[in-house]
Each structure stands twice: as structure tokens, then as C-alpha cells.
């Protein structure tokens, strides 16, 4: 019982991180139908951005006080991620917007390989884990449950809270604000949206900015929670996040978050209780992905795809 609960909580923490990244996938896909393969790497780079900020861009006195350090890392990570996302959109994806579907996908693969290498070359030794400071109030919270205790770290709690709050804010922004409306309009029909005075390019860039910012936030949380990062961090997390977005229904914000939590829980609880154990946890996630795509391609919260005329 205690173990199950503990796995559940760990799964939610993991899921929170995945959800934040999944939001970026889901928004970009929702608006230009592009699997931004490199989004996972943007997340990875942002962790290194936070680390670089902490190491090289803030005075020692800030490093000692965690709220200042956390703030600086957050700014650093978000700036890095946003700049990267915008550059990617501008120079890699925009020129290909009318190209066949394969082209942007392969470009995204190329960008993701490049980003990983840039980080590896600029942080020697980053292929093995690098330490990231905790920069948060550090107190595990322990509950007593029948059969043992359950622990949730303060940073873990933070991850879950931020993921949910972030998703809610994003939902409100998209459904209430002017730019949010523009985004929805562009997603539906860019040409008509243009006629209505919406600049699709600006809207798409904004989408990338929001996705990048969320990846940056996820990056800082990841670093602060796990206290280490390596250049491979983006690949698997990115695929998990994409899986979460698909599971929840691509384009749906609620779906991305819930999908993220489901993936997290499957990895932890499934890793313990499904056959094959932790050695096969990845496999179960992918099996779920395949099953969802085959039997409910629109995802849990997506609308069924109409047959095109």
C-alpha cells in the first residue's frame, strides 16, 4: 500500500515535468501540425541555461540565497529556451511551411541532433551528469500510511503545482485574451484568420514563445528537483512528452496535462507492477502509445478526426 502510494506520488511528480513539456508540443502541433521534435532538446538546453546562469551570470551572494538563485535560473532558462524556440521557428521551420510534411520533421531531427552537440561541445563533460544546485526550500514531507511512510519532496510538490497552475493559466490566456483568440483562429484556418486581421506569423511565433517558456520553466524545475542533467535528458523526456500530448489528444491543453500525469504514473507504478519490471517501463509507455493511436487516434480529449471530403 505504502509502496503503491509512493509510486503514485513519484509518478505525479514525473508527470508534472512531462506535462509542462507536452504543452509545448501540443500547442505547436495544434497550430501548424508540426511535431517539433527538437522541443525536448529545447527543454534540455534550458536546464543548461539555468545552470550557466547560476554558475557564470550571478554574483556569489545570490548563489547563497535560494529565492534569488531560483529567480535568476528561471530567467536564464526561459530566456534561453524562448530565444532558441524563436530562432528555430524563424530559420528552420518557417521556410518549410509549405514543403511536404516530411521536410519539417526531418529538419526537426537535425535541429535536435545539433542542439545536443552544441551543448556537449560547450559544456565539456556534460554527456555524463552535471550537478545542478537545489535552489529551493529543501524539506521532504512525510506522511504515515498503513504499511509504512510516503515521502514527497518539496521540489516534487512544486513541480506538480506549477504544472497544474501553468496549464490553467495557459487555458485562460488562450480562451480569454485577444492573442489567444488569434491563436485559435490561426489554428483553424490561417488564411481566413489573415483576412480577419490576424498576423499568422506573429501568432505562430507567439506559440513557439509560449512553448519555449514552458520548456524553460520545466527545465528549471527539472534541475532543481533532480539536481543533475546530461545532454540526453531531452530525448526521452521529449518522447514521453510527445506521447503524453498524443495520449491526451493533440491540441488539447487539458489532455496534455492529464496525459503527462498518466505517462508518469505508468512509468512508476507500471515499472513496479507490470511484467518485466523497471527494465521494461519504457516499453509499456510505448505500447500504450501505440494502442491509443490505433484505437483512439484522436487521444483521450481530442475530437474524432472527420473524414476529409
Amino acid at each position: 500500500m505504502a509502496t503503491l502510494l509512493q509510486q503514485l506520488i513519484s509518478g505525479l511528480v514525473l508527470g508534472g515535468q512531462i506535462a509542462l513539456i507536452a504543452l509545448g508540443y501540443t500547442m505547436v502541433y495544434g497550430i501548424i501540425q508540426l511535431i517539433n521534435f527538437a522541443h525536448g532538446e529545447v527543454f534540455m538546453v534550458s536546464v543548461f541555461g539555468a545552470l550557466a546562469t547560476y554558475n557564470w551570470f550571478i554574483p556569489e551572494s545570490w548563489q547563497q540565497t535560494w529565492p534569488l538563485a531560483l529567480l535568476a535560473m528561471l530567467v536564464g532558462a526561459v530566456v534561453v529556451a524562448v530565444v532558441l524556440a524563436v530562432l528555430m521557428e524563424r530559420f528552420a521551420y518557417r521556410p518549410l511551411r509549405n514543403a511536404p510534411r516530411l521536410a519539417p520533421l526531418i529538419t526537426a531531427l537535425g535541429v535536435s541532433v545539433m542542439l545536443k552537440e552544441i551543448v556537449r561541445l560547450s559544456f565539456p563533460g556534460a554527456t555524463a551528469a552535471v550537478h545542478v544546485p537545489r535552489a529551493f526550500w529543501d524539506e521532504p514531507i512525510t506522511f504515515k500510511v498503513p504499511g509504512g511512510t510516503v515521502v514527497i519532496g518539496s521540489t516534487g510538490l512544486l513541480v506538480i503545482v506549477v504544472a497544474i497552475v501553468g496549464a490553467v493559466l495557459l487555458q485562460v490566456y488562450i480562451s480569454r485574451s485577444r492573442m489567444g483568440r488569434a491563436m485559435r483562429a490561426t489554428a483553424q484556418d490561417p488564411d481566413t484568420a489573415r483576412l480577419m486581421g490576424v498576423d499568422p506569423n506573429r501568432t505562430i511565433v507567439l506559440t513557439f514563445v509560449i512553448g519555449g517558456a514552458l520548456a524553460g520553466v520545466a527545465g528549471v524545475l527539472y534541475g532543481v528537483h533532480l539536481n543533475n542533467v546530461d545532454t540526453d535528458a531531452g530525448f526521452l523526456t521529449g518522447i514521453f512528452a510527445f506521447t503524453a500530448a498524443v495520449l491526451g489528444g493533440v491540441g488539447s491543453i487539458k489532455g496534455a496535462v492529464i496525459g503527462g500525469f498518466i505517462i508518469g504514473v505508468i512509468k512508476t507504478v507500471g515499472g513496479q507492477y507490470l511484467p518485466g519490471g523497471t527494465a521494461y517501463d519504457l516499453v509499456w509507455i510505448f505500447v500504450l502509445l501505440i494502442l491509443v493511436l490505433v484505437f483512439r487516434p484522436q487521444g483521450l480529449f481530442g475530437e474524432p478526426e472527420r473524414v476529409r471530403a
Binding site: 505504502a2 509502496t3 509512493q6 509510486q7 513519484s10 509518478g11 511528480v13 514525473l14 524563424r90 518557417r94 521556410p95 511551411r97 509549405n98 514543403a99 556537449r120 565539456p124 563533460g125 554527456t127 555524463a128 551528469a129 550537478h131 521532504p140 512525510t142 511512510t149 515521502v151 519532496g153 490561417p190 488564411d191 489573415r194 499568422p200 506569423n201 533532480l226 539536481n227 543533475n228 542533467v229 546530461d230 545532454t231 540526453d232 535528458a233 530525448f235 526521452l236 512509468k267 512508476t268 515499472g271 513496479q272 519490471g277 523497471t278 527494465a279 517501463d281 519504457l282
Partner: protein, 452 residues
């Protein structure tokens, strides 16, 4: 679908205006250009800016010494040595790009350091030595290519490598065919030297293959004896990373630990790219172990130890020489964690200290890594044996067999302890040390040999 011939560009004209950005801009510029002066102004401004940028860049010019990765300039330091006969090549096969390059670069640099020192000391009279590094990209097929490349060069005397056991498997037969000696700094799988049934019926597979590191069946049981016997841990959880090194080490550990009366309460695997280990830790926590044995390397072991503590599983984590690294502690290794490593403690060994100092003095861009010292030793074994071999005549390909014999009978102190090989090509240096984290650093706790 309209057809217009002869235009073979892939880009569509911007019909909907979706490509407003650059396309628009360029068209505007072109019309302006046709009209005249406006652009020239811009050009002048730009030229000034560029010129200043270039000047700034030129300020940083360092023109005589430059960024070759270090160690290539050894030719300048050959005072007094007779190197007239030839330049001989020691090959290095290790990952130089991609995920494992950090370890591979440490191997390369250390080998270069050894060769440079040998050139300075005239270790091989009459010959100059150089290192040729080949990237195996951590995959067997590329490793085989690299080995073939080296083996078709008559001046290659020996090869240091590889990092991955699977790459070694594809390299061994290639080098064997040309009788080139191979000394591995990092392969710990016992079957590489003694065949599949290495415990009961050891059989040497390749007579040109040697290694200076300790095999899993030396290190694992030694760790088990310490953890079960001396530290008195009776219920142990094993976590591995699924890679050859970790799996091999953990399985040898398990055999001995069970023999010594401990109970393995859980066996779990982490993904080699994982950084969040909560699943595995929670699963292990349910079994209430009083110690964790981790088969793998420090990048995972450090965070694992920390996350275990965060999740309320505050028991010592023990690992092999892949864990014995200062970075382990930086990454979250906690007080009381343990690691075994080959040889006597570094502080008690002058050769080890001298090596580390020399490495630091060279200011390599890359860190020493877990296998730097072994690579340095491997290079010195080959150099030493070569010096022995060329005593009886000038180097030629036909002396490769003699070189293999000389490596087999080589004996000298190295940076990791006594360098000497048994009849299977394994290091006879079975001396191991258990280190314990205390006061934020590794401290030797016990030194001994397994079975002794």
C-alpha cells in the same frame, strides 16, 4: 496543379503571403537597388560595422600556438633523443564523438601523455612514437572499421582500447589477424579474455588481447565480501544500468553475496538515459534493504544515491570503479556510500600522483575520466614492451608476435598499481581498495585481494 516548366526550385512563390518575412524583404531591397543610392548608404554602414567586428575578432588572434587538442606538438621537444629510424604509431580506439566521448577523450589524452613522455625520455631508442586516435562512435561496426584502418598500417605497433566491451568484440578478430597487440583500459567483461565459461573452464580467446583493468569477477566478489562480511549488510538490493559493465559487475557481486549469506531482496534496472530514479527507488524501498549495490557508473549512481535519500531510503550505496569518482559526491553521493577500485589507494602510490599531476599540467580540455589512468598504463605497457622488442632488431611487421610475447611478460609499476598479466591476458593486479565517502570525499577504508 499548374505546370510551369524549367523552374526546378522547390520553394513555392509566396501566393498566400504566408511567407511574408524574408521573401518580402528581399523584393523590397531589390526594387530599391534598382532605383539607386539608398542601398549604397546601407552598404557603407554595414561595411564599417563588419570591419569593426572583424578587427575585434582579429584582436583575439593567437597566431603561433593553436588549438590542436594538445599533445601534437611533441615533435618540438625531442632534445637529444635518437629518433632517426622511424615514427611508430600507437592506435587508440575509443568514442570521440557523441554521448560517451567524455570517457573516450580522457583515454585519448592519457595515451598521448604517455607517448609524449616516452618521446621525451627516449624510452624507445631510435624511434619516435605517435598516437593515432580513431573514433569508434561507440558502435561495433565503426570500431571494426577503425581497427581495420589501424591494422593495415605497417607502422602500428599496438592499440589501446576499447571503451565498450561490445566494440572490443568486433575489434579483437581484426587485430588478431594482423597480430597487433591490444591493451584495453576499460573492458571488464571476463569473457573477453577467458571465454564464456570463464569461471570453470577458462580458455584464452585472443592471444593479442590484454587489459590493465580488473575484471568483474575480481571486483564484484571483493565488494560482496566487504559489504556482507565487514559491513554486515544482510539484505541487499541490486540496481543495474543494463550495460555490459554494470550487468557483469552486479551478477558477479550477486553470486558471492549469496554465497556469503546475504539475501538479495530486490533486483531492478534503470534506463541508461534515466535521470529520475524514483520508480526504481520506490520499488526497492518496499523490500527494506539495508544496502544498495549499484552496477553502473557515477553519472547515475550519484543522483540515485541522493534521490534514494530524498525518498526516505537512507542506506549506503555501493558501486565499482565506475562509481569511484569525485563527481559521484558532487552529484549527490552521500556520507557512507562505498566504491571499490583497483589497486592501492591513489595517495599511497607515487606513480598515480605523478600521473594526475602531469595530466593536469597539460591543461587538456577534457577531464581524465574513469579510465585515464588505465589508458596511461596501457600505453606504457606497449611502449615498454616495444623498447624490449626493438633491442633485438629494428622494427618490422614480423616483430609483432615478439611484441605480444613481451607485453605478456611485461612487468612494471604503473599509475594504477603493478602492471603484469596472467596467462589469459588479465591484469595480475588483483589488489582492490574499498573507498567510503566521509567528510565530502572518498577515503580508503580497506585494501586487500579477493580470496586472500
Amino acid at each position: 496543379m499548374t505546370t510551369s516548366q524549367s523552374v526546378t526550385t522547390f520553394r513555392r512563390n509566396p501566393p498566400t503571403g504566408m511567407r511574408a518575412g524574408f521573401g518580402m524583404l528581399t523584393r523590397i531591397v531589390r526594387t530599391k537597388a534598382e532605383k539607386g543610392h539608398h542601398v549604397r548608404n546601407q552598404t557603407v554602414k554595414a561595411a564599417v560595422l563588419v570591419a569593426s567586428a572583424l578587427l575585434l575578432a582579429a584582436c583575439g588572434t593567437n597566431k603561433t600556438e593553436s588549438g590542436s587538442s594538445g599533445g601534437n606538438n611533441s615533435s618540438n621537444t625531442q632534445q637529444g633523443c635518437d629518433q632517426s629510424k622511424d615514427t611508430l604509431v600507437i592506435g587508440v580506439i575509443a568514442p570521440q564523438s557523441g554521448g560517451l566521448s567524455a570517457l573516450g577523450l580522457g583515454i585519448r589524452n592519457s595515451a598521448e601523455l604517455a607517448v609524449e613522455q616516452a618521446n621525451e625520455k627516449c624510452a624507445v631508442p631510435g624511434y619516435k612514437l605517435k598516437v593515432q586516435t580513431e573514433d569508434d562512435q561507440a558502435t561495433p561496426q565503426v570500431g571494426a572499421q577503425a581497427a581495420t584502418r589501424l591494422s593495415s598500417n605497417a607502422k602500428v605497433i599496438g592499440v589501446i582500447g576499447t571503451l565498450n566491451s561490445s566494440v572490443a568484440q568486433s575489434v579483437q578478430p581484426v587485430l588478431q589477424a594482423k597480430k597487433i597487440v591490444q591493451v584495453s583500459p576499460a573492458n571488464t567483461s571476463p569473457s573477453l579474455t577467458r571465454g564464456d565459461d570463464f569461471l570453470n573452464n577458462p580458455k584464452r580467446k585472443y592471444d593479442n588481447y590484454f587489459r590493465v583493468c580488473a575484471t568483474d569477477d575480481v571486483q564484484g566478489p571483493f565488494a560482496a565480501k566487504y559489504l556482507v562480511g565487514k559491513a554486515g549488510k544482510k539484505s541487499i538490493a541490486i540496481i543495474t544500468d543494463g550495460k555490459t559493465y554494470g550487468e557483469g559487475l552486479a551478477s558477479e557481486f550477486k553470486k558471492q553475496a549469496e554465497k556469503d549469506g546475504a539475501k538479495i531482496v530486490a533486483t531492478e534496472k534503470v534506463g541508461e538515459k534515466d535521470t529520475d530514479f524514483s520508480t526504481v527507488i520506490n520499488a526497492v524501498r518496499g523490500a527494506n534493504p539495508d544496502a544498495i549495490y549499484y552496477g553502473g557508473e557515477y553519472p547515475q549512481a550519484g543522483p540515485l544515491s541522493k534521490q534514494a535519500k530524498d525518498l526516505g531510503l537512507n542506506v549506503p550505496v555501493m558501486g565499482g570503479d565506475g562509481v569511484y569518482d569525485p563527481k559521484f559526491i558532487e552529484l549527490g553521493g552521500k556520507e557512507g556510500d562505498l566504491a571499490t577500485s583497483v589497486g592501492a589507494p591513489v595517495d599511497s602510490l607515487d606513480t598515480a600522483k605523478a600521473f594526475v599531476d602531469a595530466y593536469k599540467a597539460k591543461k587538456y580540455k577534457d577531464e581524465l575520466g574513469a579510465y585515464g589512468a588505465f589508458s596511461y598504463d596501457a600505453a606504457n605497457v606497449i611502449i615498454g614492451a616495444l623498447a624490449q622488442t626493438v633491442k633485438s632488431g629494428d622494427w618490422s611487421e614480423s616483430q609483432r608476435a615478439a611484441l605480444i610475447t613481451n607485453v605478456g611478460s611485461f612487468s612494471a609499476p604503473g599509475a594504477t598499481g603493478e602492471l603484469k598479466f596472467d596467462q589469459y591476458g588479465d591484469s595480475t593486479n588483483k589488489l582492490m581498495t574499498v573507498y567510503k565517502v566521509s567528510g565530502g570525499k572518498w577515503n580508503p577504508d580497506e585494501t586487500g585481494t579477493f580470496g586472500g
